[in-house]
């Protein structure tokens, strides 16, 4: 499902930054995995590689049946339609409403408008934002924007869900609700991989946890 083999990521510059060093990791289909580590440890870089947001400097990465090293310009969009990603900075389209933001993965996939409306309204309702479906992201709080990002990542029922700090901007009660929602998604067969530094949350859900520090995996339970 997800496989990293000797993956490295180096950002070139006056002083090259070794963001990831020799990452070896396997996550099976249907797993729910937490990725923890301090700020700057490489969590976000690892997720960027995983979502084909960026390419590894060396080594190989496989997600679903895609070898990310070999993806060409035509295959990249196809791969991205099979995964769901929640970005730390939400990455919402400011010129689109909540409904339109959430509908994006379905529109890109070419679903019919009626189908899109049904699915989008259902997921917006699940994240508690139905009453704000016509609002623009700038009119939402950080937590609400986070929930829109989550709804967008889930609406097309992806095979793998990757979430970078999905509860970072939420109060503990809402954070639990969101994790419960992701838990439900996982129960339906979606592989869930969450980066977080919320240790309480990790403890509350006794799931597989991978710890990363200084660009290397230091612990995998």
């Amino acid at each position: 499902m997800i496989e990293f083999m000797h993956a490295y990521k180096v950002y070139q510059g006056a002083v090259p930054v070794h963001a990831l060093k020799n990452i070896n990791l396997t996550i099976d289909k249907g797993e729910f995995v937490f990725l923890t580590g301090p700020s700057g440890s490489g969590k976000t870089t690892l997720f960027r590689l995983l979502s084909a947001y960026d390419r590894p400097s060396s080594g190989s990465i496989k997600v679903l049946n895609f070898s990310l090293n070999d993806l060409n310009a035509v295959q990249v969009p196809t791969f991205r339609r099979h995964i769901g990603v929640i970005y730390q900075d939400f990455r919402l389209l400011k010129r689109r409403t909540v409904f339109e933001n959430v509908a994006l993965p379905l529109e890109v996939r070419g679903d019919r408008p009626r189908q899109i409306r049904e699915q989008v309204e259902k997921i917006i309702d699940q994240v508690g934002l139905f009453h704000k479906r016509d609002d623009y992201p700038d009119h939402l709080s950080g937590g609400e924007q986070q929930r829109v990002a989550i709804a967008r990542a889930l609406v097309h029922k992806p095979g793998v869900l990757i979430a970078d700090e999905p509860t970072g901007n939420l109060d503990p009660h809402l954070a639990k609700e969101i994790i419960s929602l992701l838990d439900k998604v996982n129960a339906q067969g979606t592989t869930v991989f969450i980066a977080t530094h919320d240790h309480e949350l990790v403890k509350a859900y006794s799931r597989r946890t991978i710890q990363i520090a200084d660009g290397q995996i230091v612990k995998s339970s």
Binding site: A73, V85, R95, V108, R152
Partner: protein
């Protein structure tokens, strides 16, 4: 896909009204100049065509009147399919015509012609549809050259000097008007391109997000091309309206000031095919300009490339 693009276009228009209004105004200005150029071209072409219709060709036969050879020449003329109103003028008829013309001015000249008629028999004809282009003029020159080699033909005349000058005017006018149209179109292409480039830079984040959720290059590119097509079409349409208003204003003014000149019957507004041409040109130009500037908008790795740039 087009509904989405239209929706996107309306949204962009609402959010950046000043940018769009400025772009549309500049384009309307450019296209109006272009439409005026087409109007002038159309009317000059009309006048030239009128003159071209007046070109008369004469094929003079040799001294000895040979009916068989004359019939052969007539056959050659008819076979060319190039002429209308072909008429035969015998030696006698030529003399009568000549006498009629000259009698008023120099009656003394005619006395010597009573016994010795030097005028040859000839065929006189006009060119079917007239001479409208340099190519047609060249065709006439070639035909005349060939005709001179036919037995029984002494000379072929088509008012060489006048027609040659006329052909030069056609050539220069055609060339100049196309250069002018080309310059105007290129300018418009840059105006549209600049507007789209501006639009792209304002929506760079949006493009990245679309990429990250699996939008293909075509999906990302199409709204920009659509935007250009609509801009081009609207600008061309409004330019035609502006040109029409200018035409009405100017012709009314001339009718009042120059009462002896019936300007409205001599200067016509753009014909339907020319208006269609202006609309097609404007729309295509909009689409092309957008495509040229937006074609590299997405490589599938825009976000990654941006990251690489930031880290450099």
């Amino acid at each position: 896909m087009s509904t989405g693009a239209l929706h996107n276009f309306i949204r962009t228009w609402r959010q950046q009204p000043t940018t769009y209004f400025a772009t549309l105004s500049v384009l309307i200005g450019s296209f109006t100049i272009l439409a005026i150029a087409l109007l002038i071209q159309q009317n000059i072409e009309r006048a030239l065509t009128q003159w071209g219709r007046e070109v008369k060709v004469s094929v003079y036969l040799s001294e000895s009147e040979d009916q068989a050879k004359s019939a052969e020449v007539r056959k050659k003329i008819d076979e060319s399919g190039y002429f209308s109103k072909v008429s035969f003028l015998s030696k006698g008829e030529a003399l009568t015509k000549f006498k009629t013309r000259v009698n008023e001015y120099a009656p003394g000249l005619l006395a010597d012609l009573e016994n010795d008629n030097p005028l040859p028999a000839s065929f006189e004809m006009t060119i079917e549809g007239g001479v409208k282009s340099n190519r047609q003029f060249q065709k006439l020159v070639d035909w005349a050259k060939n005709m001179k080699t036919v037995a029984g033909v002494d000379e072929v005349s088509y008012g060489q000097g006048w027609v040659e000058n006329y052909a030069s005017v056609l050539k220069v006018f055609g060339f100049t008007s196309w250069i002018f149209i080309f310059v105007m179109l290129t300018g418009s292409l840059f105006v549209i391109g600049n507007s789209i480039r501006n639009s792209i830079s304002q929506r760079r984040d949006e493009i990245e997000i679309l990429e990250l959720f699996g939008a293909t290059r075509g999906m990302i590119l199409w709204p920009y091309v659509f935007e250009g097509l609509v801009l081009g079409f609207l600008a061309a349409l409004l330019a035609i309206v502006a040109t029409y208003l200018l035409y009405i204003w100017q012709t009314d003014l001339m009718m009042r000031e120059l009462t002896f000149w019936d300007v409205k019957t001599q200067v016509e507004f753009l014909s339907a095919p020319r208006m269609l041409l202006a609309l097609v040109l404007g729309t295509s130009l909009g689409g092309l300009g957008s495509f040229m500037w937006a074609k590299n908008v997405s490589s599938g790795w825009a976000a990654a490339e941006a990251t690489a740039r930031w880290s450099d």
